[in-house]
């Protein structure tokens, strides 16, 4: 066990996967010698060679097609989309092809593809680099959507994603790449792709979040403790399919729920979590479900990012409103 950054944990997972299975390939724009624009694949080409870690021409749909085609030769592609805002260029490969192929071929063919991509704001990027588009892809049957919120999960979930025969969209929070560090177990381990995790136990209220929303929720929970409010933080980890059982357990425990997401209120996973709670666990609720999300505008210009993004204070205020409701 050692303390590592979120991006180092991601790189370590790819290193282990390349070492373990010679069918694993990594490709994308600038992932080779340059190690990716964030250095997520730094050193991997030098270690495993150009045959296994290689650059592609600059065309996302081509990258998606390459991944699908390579599966026919028993490869397990890890393809990088440099920023998830560029996903629109590869939506047919993802939604029209890889998500449908297992179904289409009556499960006679598998799509063991991982689409790695950074998302999320807070780093003052140009346009189309920071959007939270997980809600859009989570509504596509046939793909799994994974959004780790800490380094240990990033490593274990990525190793599971690579081992999965289902296509996985693996979303990496750009802001957390270097700002978030944590204990990461050594060696090879996998973290299940269908289980949420209690990031912090509590008894008065459940804050349900995922990806970049989790550190915000955890910070809020610390503040709330000073006000004698015990907040439980549930980290969904895999946003499609959802771990409904874990959601049910925390709702039954506290009876009060606040959902926290970085995405706009109309986007993201929050609405889906709310509808599952409404349908299945409504009688456990002691208050309406609260929601903290970004406003329904297009992702803002960099200079206004701080005013637009959700903050721990927003979560504290919303939790207090829900806790005080009776």
């Amino acid at each position: 066990m050692a303390v590592k950054s979120y991006i180092d944990a991601i790189r370590e997972a790819m290193d282990l996967a390349l070492e373990k299975d010679e069918n694993v390939l990594i490709f994308g724009e600038d992932v080779g010698e340059n190690g990716g624009v964030f250095r997520a694949t730094d050193g991997l080409q030098a270690k495993y060679g150009e045959e296994r870690v290689f650059n592609t021409p600059l065309a996302e749909s081509g990258i998606g097609g390459l991944a699908i085609g390579l599966t026919t030769q028993n490869y397990r592609p890890i393809m990088e989309i440099q920023f998830f805002g560029f996903v629109f260029e590869v939506m047919d490969s993802i939604a029209g092809q890889m998500a449908r192929n297992r179904f289409r071929f009556n499960a006679t063919r598998q799509m063991p593809i991982v689409v790695r991509s950074p998302y999320g704001g807070g780093t003052k990027t140009p346009e189309m680099h920071a959007d939270n588009l997980e809600g859009m892809v989570a509504q596509i049957p046939g793909i799994r959507v994974v959004m780790p919120a800490n380094p240990a999960d990033a490593k274990g979930l990525l190793l599971s994603s690579i081992a999965s025969n289902d296509p996985v969209i693996f979303l990496e929070n750009l802001h957390l790449y270097r700002s978030l560090k944590g204990e990461v177990p050594d060696g090879f381990y996998t973290t299940p792709l269908d289980t949420a995790a209690i990031a912090r136990a509590g008894s008065d209220v459940s804050i349900i979040s995922y990806g970049g929303g989790v550190p915000v929720a955890l910070k809020a929970a610390e503040e709330l403790e000073k006000n004698n409010v015990s907040a439980e933080v549930l980290d969904l980890r895999t946003v499609s399919p959802l771990d409904i059982e874990a959601i049910g357990k925390t709702v039954e425990k506290t009876g009060r729920v606040v959902i926290v997401q970085e995405a706009q209120r109309m986007a993201g996973i929050g609405a889906n979590v709310m509808s599952e709670i409404s349908e299945r666990f409504v009688l456990n609720l002691k208050a309406p479900i609260g929601r903290v999300a970004a406003p329904d505008s297009v992702y803002p210009f960099a200079q206004a990012e701080n005013d637009w993004m959700i903050k721990a204070d927003d979560v504290v205020n919303k939790v207090m409103e829900i806790v005080e409701y009776d």
Binding site: T56, S61, G69, S93, L242, I244
Partner: protein, 378 residues
């Protein structure tokens, strides 16, 4: 005038440049419209035995008969979606004859016959057309995996995927190629460029066909691009690009064979534009060609269709006759009748199975839905 002045003047003479581009693509042609040999050297280079020729005409006749029967069955509601192929038998069946079982076929939705000759049972093709999951299992009657993808609905997607397969074949050191078909409309898609460009950049084992059949549903070839030759698009990817008489079975086979040999040797992909024509509607889903083209135009292409010239050429050669042809057509029709019966009697599809097939490990909500549909026997 210095050399640089001359060069500069030439660069800035756009008109001449366009003319040079347009004149660069002569059409490969071995037989004329009536099956007379135009190029004996090319015929020799094709190295087709009498047996090969018989195989090719039989494949072309199989395709034509499937086309005729499919359209009739669709009118009776016994067939689903079918994209007619009449007129494209050389472009499809003589080209695919140059590839073997190890090669990977990436078809568009009009390329059903190419998959069938790779061993896809006709009853599965019928089920594909009707919308049944068993139609999407690419295995032969005796359970052997067929190296083919499903007929691609999204125009051009098969090109980027072919690049991936081609790269995979190269990485695995296999003596095989990926061969993909699209149409004239397909060349306008981004995936078309990305596919040929990726395959070119990696010098991957791919052969790309553009079946220029004149129309993308109703939009004529002339509206797709200012390029006079669709093959010219391959130049931008730095790959050999040729135009061939797509109604000439010998020329089609020859160019395909040579392209395969080039690609399989590690030289990279080849792009082939086949000049052909769709003699029938876009699909069995209510398209009326007379809304967008003249009957005279259709009639003129019927005079140039590939079966006439193949039949004449082989009859002249003494290896084919009307009797042989009619006997083979009877054989094909009997086969199609049998295959329809098999398709009529397959088990009903289950919704629970669809959910199970969507993810290898379904989520909780999906498992609940599987249980619900299973309890209802669906």
């Amino acid at each position: 005038m210095s050399d640089q002045i001359k060069i500069n003047q030439k660069i800035l003479d756009f008109n001449t440049q366009l003319q040079e581009q347009d004149s660069f693509f002569p059409v490969l042609s071995v037989l004329d419209n009536q099956g007379k040999i135009i190029d004996k050297e090319a015929l020799k280079r094709a190295e087709l035995s009498d047996e090969d020729l018989v195989n090719i005409i039989k494949r072309m006749l199989l395709s034509r008969q499937l086309d005729i029967r499919s359209i009739k069955l669709a009118k009776q509601g016994r067939f689903g979606f079918f994209a007619p192929t009449a007129g494209q038998e050389a472009s499809q069946m003589a080209s695919s004859y140059a590839f073997n079982d190890d090669d990977w076929l990436m078809p568009g939705y009009r390329d059903i016959p190419e998959i069938i000759v790779k061993g896809w049972p006709i009853w599965k093709a019928i089920l594909w057309s009707r919308g049944h999951v068993l139609g999407n299992e690419f295995v032969t009657e005796d359970g052997k995996e067929i190296n083919a993808w499903m007929p691609q609905i999204i125009i051009g997607a098969q090109y980027v995927e072919a690049a991936g397969i081609a790269l995979g074949l190269k990485k695995r050191g296999k003596n095989a190629v990926a061969y993909a078909y699209t149409g004239d409309g397909g060349t306008s898609q981004g995936d078309f460029y990305e596919g040929i460009n990726f395959a070119g950049a990696y010098k991957a084992n791919a052969v790309f066909f553009i079946q220029n059949n004149g129309y993308a549903i109703s939009t004529p070839r002339s509206l797709q691009t200012a390029a006079v030759h669709l093959a010219a698009k391959g130049w931008a990817a730095g790959i050999p690009s040729v135009v061939v008489d797509g109604n000439d079975p010998i020329a089609m086979y020859l160019v395909s064979k040579e392209a395969r040999a080039w690609a399989v040797s590690g030289n990279g992909p080849v792009l082939i534009e086949t000049l052909t024509n769709r003699l029938e509607p876009h699909s069995t889903a209510g398209d009326d060609p007379l809304r967008y083209r003249k009957q005279d135009d259709i009639d003129s292409w019927w005079q140039k269709e590939p079966l006439i010239r193949m039949r004449n050429f082989m009859t002249e050669k003494g290896i084919w006759s009307l009797e042989l042809e009619n006997a083979y057509i009877d054989e094909v029709n009997t086969l199609i009748d049998e295959q329809i019966k098999i398709a009529d009697n397959v088990e009903k599809q289950k919704v629970s199975n669809f959910i199970k097939n969507t993810l290898e490990i379904p989520g909780q909500a999906m498992n609940e839905q599987i249980a619900k549909f299973e309890s209802e026997g669906k």
